[in-house]
Amino acid sequence: MDAVILQFLNGLDKGSAYALIALGLTLIFGTLGVVNFAHGALFMIGAFCAVTMSRLLSLSHQVVDETRTDFLGNPMKVDVPYVNDWFGEATGALIIDWAVPISILLAIPVMLLVGIVMERGLIKHFYKRPHADQILVTFGLAIVLQEIIKQVYGANPIPTPAPEAFRGSLDFGVMLGFDPYTITYPYWRLVYFAFSVIIIGAVFAFLQFTTFGMVVRAGMADRETVGLLGIDIDRRFTLMFGLAAIVAGLAGVMYTPINSPNYHMGMDFLVLSFVVVVVGGMGSLPGAVAAGFLLGILQSFASMNWIKDIIPGIDQIIIYLVAILILLTRPRGLLGRKGVMEE
């Protein structure tokens, strides 16, 4: 039982990442009709916003400490962060420690800008082109973006730790009546799950309860009629692209303490997130979220040793098997609408 609870919890953080990426992916598809294969790259750029902020906050000048020697026996040069000079040692250390959450402040404008530039500069020219063209151009864009990141930040993963306060783990087992250390779960993964629930809730609330959101939903249902009412739906859809980029970027920022960011992390998530969108139903926001969590948790269960003993390698293919099963029984996906990608 404890193993089942543990794998369920474990599936939540992976599911959170899938759900957040898939949400943006399906939002773009629902509004603009574009299959955006560069969406994983937006997740990756978000993660590197955290790396950038971490480096900016750690910018230092060197002072020579005559009392200590380095590995060659020379007087040691010690890096002193500028934030220590400006705010004092304790506050400076606290600011650097909280670099990842602080990165959200950088990621929001950066991702909005990247999203709008991407949509206005390239993707809008492919609205009326076949989906195959859209996939090719956005996939190409994803490769370009990841190579740029590789050139700037290098090929290696860059450790980006969570704040000290969230580095431990919570002993769930004791809370549920099990022995101590039977079910432990890292604090930061809980933070990530809570964060993703908040972001998903905020996106739904934005679409459901604001005039802007109402117009966007109307545009998703019948773009032409909304246009005839004199509403500039294109401008709103462009902003929705920016919003989707922000969601993917924030998912990337908060994911960095779970897994050190590297240039191909977007590609690692993209294919799985696309499967999530298809399983959830192309263009369906609740479908993307439900499928994200469902597949994340299933993948986690498939990693259990006794299951892998019966079917070796099942954890690597479970998502695709489930996708095939769902598409055979529900061709439009879990919550897909009629008419989407059926022309």
Binding site: L6, P159, I183, T184, Y185, I258, S260, K308
Partner: protein, 454 residues
């Protein structure tokens, strides 16, 4: 009116013959008369350094490349000479190798056997490399060693720790300076017994390729021999970055020790996940839960940060060896000085083994008086040397494996600086880690005949 003597058919035929000639590997054409592949000219010799520049072992690859550049500088008489000053042989005088200036080309193995073979093949066939070195994965080392054997060039392995490299996949043209999984286990087991006792249940996470398999087999055999029980062994894909699904079941498995048969980025991620899941603080079977990393490196310690504190493992070499363990390990400080002055930080064990391999190759060529791979093989087989940082060392003729002391380390609790991450627990003498070439873990291999190529 002039008439051209060229006909369309003639131009096509000539072009086809010329193209075929150009497309031939270099070792099948011009230098064939010398009797071996890629015989150098009078002024220059080309070495090929094949390292992982991307993938989970990219940190090691970058450091290997730095060491190769330094070795080439020293061979060409630039810099302070490094270990040339401490090496027991005095044949290398800074004038290159046999009077030829040393040049090098590099390739990216990507930690993939296919990519590594392709880049090694390119360096041999297009760039005329006469020796290939580097690599940070045994899967890659075994693949490239096989290629070098076929092509008739020497392979001086970089960081490869699988028993197979000089065991069942040993080749006459291949030589390994780095230690292996059997040696790690033989050195580490007595230390683990002292630290954690004889009544322990171990859960293994193992990288799913030949290094991981032999590492797990070796450490499981050594720990079981002292009374530990192996509860489970779970294979993990080399490309995996999130090990949480593998770590989660460990505490409920009845294990009280987690053995991470991972290296490089794999180990950094799996250890980080293990610490995130509270394994360092956990109690199991009435004992404190422990983590063991059989193959260790300073680079990994740097990547893992605070998570590495107190965790034991083994190394081929450490940059503090001469300072802490005495003059037996002479050469260490000379190398650290050269490397540190040039790059600003101390070298890793990956850098050390690649640097040493380059000098050993150059010395063997010089002693043999020839670049012919078979002459080099003869010069290296049974070669005993000192002054390269590991103490007295033997290149055993039977399997082309180096035998020397093994360093047992653990993550330092209170580092004095960013490079002081590992403390040396003890140095296990060569005799304790020596085995016969036909030991069951190394059996089934055959060096075969050396291949000079052309």
């Amino acid at each position: 009116m002039s008439t051209s003597r060229f006909t369309r058919r003639g131009v096509l035929r000539t072009g086809a013959i010329a193209s075929a000639g150009l497309a031939l590997p270099t070792y099948l054409r011009a230098e064939a008369h010398t009797g071996f592949t890629n015989a150098p000219g009078d002024s220059e010799v080309v070495l090929g350094f094949n390292v992982p520049q991307t993938g989970p072992y990219a940190d090691e690859g970058a450091d290997e490349l730095r060491a190769f550049e330094l070795a080439v500088e020293h061979l060409n008489g630039e810099g302070d000479g490094g270990m040339l000053n401490t090496f027991s042989e005095k044949n290398l005088d800074g004038t290159g190798i046999l009077g030829r200036r040393v040049n090098f080309v590099t390739g990216d193995t990507q930690t993939k056997s296919d990519a590594a073979r392709a880049s090694a093949r390119s360096m041999i066939e297009k760039d005329g490399a006469i020796m290939i070195s580097g690599g940070s994965s045994s899967g890659v080392a075994v693949a490239v060693q096989g290629l070098c054997q076929e092509a008739g060039v020497i392979f001086m392995a970089g960081l490869t720790h699988s028993n197979d490299t000089t065991g069942k996949d040993r080749k006459a043209n291949g030589f390994r300076h780095f230690f292996n999984a059997y040696m790690s286990a033989a050195a580490l087991a007595p230390v683990l017994q002292n630290l954690y006792g004889t009544d322990r249940n171990a859960y293994h996470l193992t990288a799913d390729y030949n290094w991981g398999w032999t590492q797990q087999e070796s450490i499981a055999a050594a720990t079981e021999a002292m009374g530990w029980e192996t509860v489970n062994n779970v294979l993990t894909p080399l490309a995996e970055t999130d090990f949480s699904a593998y770590i989660a079941p460990v505490l409920s498995s009845g294990a009280d020790v987690l053995v991470l048969n991972h290296y490089g980025g794999n180990m950094v991620n799996s250890l980080t996940n293990a610490v995130q899941f509270g394994l360092r603080e956990a109690q199991a079977n009435g004992k404190k839960f422990e983590i063991v990393v059989p193959l260790y490196s300073e680079l990994m310690a740097r990547g893992a940060g605070q998570n590495i504190k107190g965790i034991p493992g083994s190394q081929n070499w450490d940059w503090k060896l001469e300072n802490e363990m005495g003059e037996r390990y002479v050469g260490t400080n000379a190398f650290v000085q050269s490397f540190g002055e040039k790059y600003g930080f101390p070298p890793s064990q990956a850098a050390h083994t690649c640097y040493v391999q380059t000098l050993l190759y150059a010395d063997a060529v010089t002693r043999a008086g020839s670049f012919n791979p078979c002459a080099v093989v003869e010069a290296l087989e049974g070669f005993e040397f000192d002054g390269m940082g590991n103490g007295p060392t033997l290149y055993r003729a039977g399997d082309h494996q180096c035998f020397k002391d093994v360093v047992v380390v653990r993550g330092k609790e209170n580092p004095e600086n960013e490079f002081d991450l590992v403390e040396i627990v003890e140095v296990t003498p060569t005799e304790q880690v020596t085995y016969e070439p036909d030991h069951p873990m190394f059996d089934g291999g055959d060096l075969g005949e050396c291949n000079p190529g052309a």
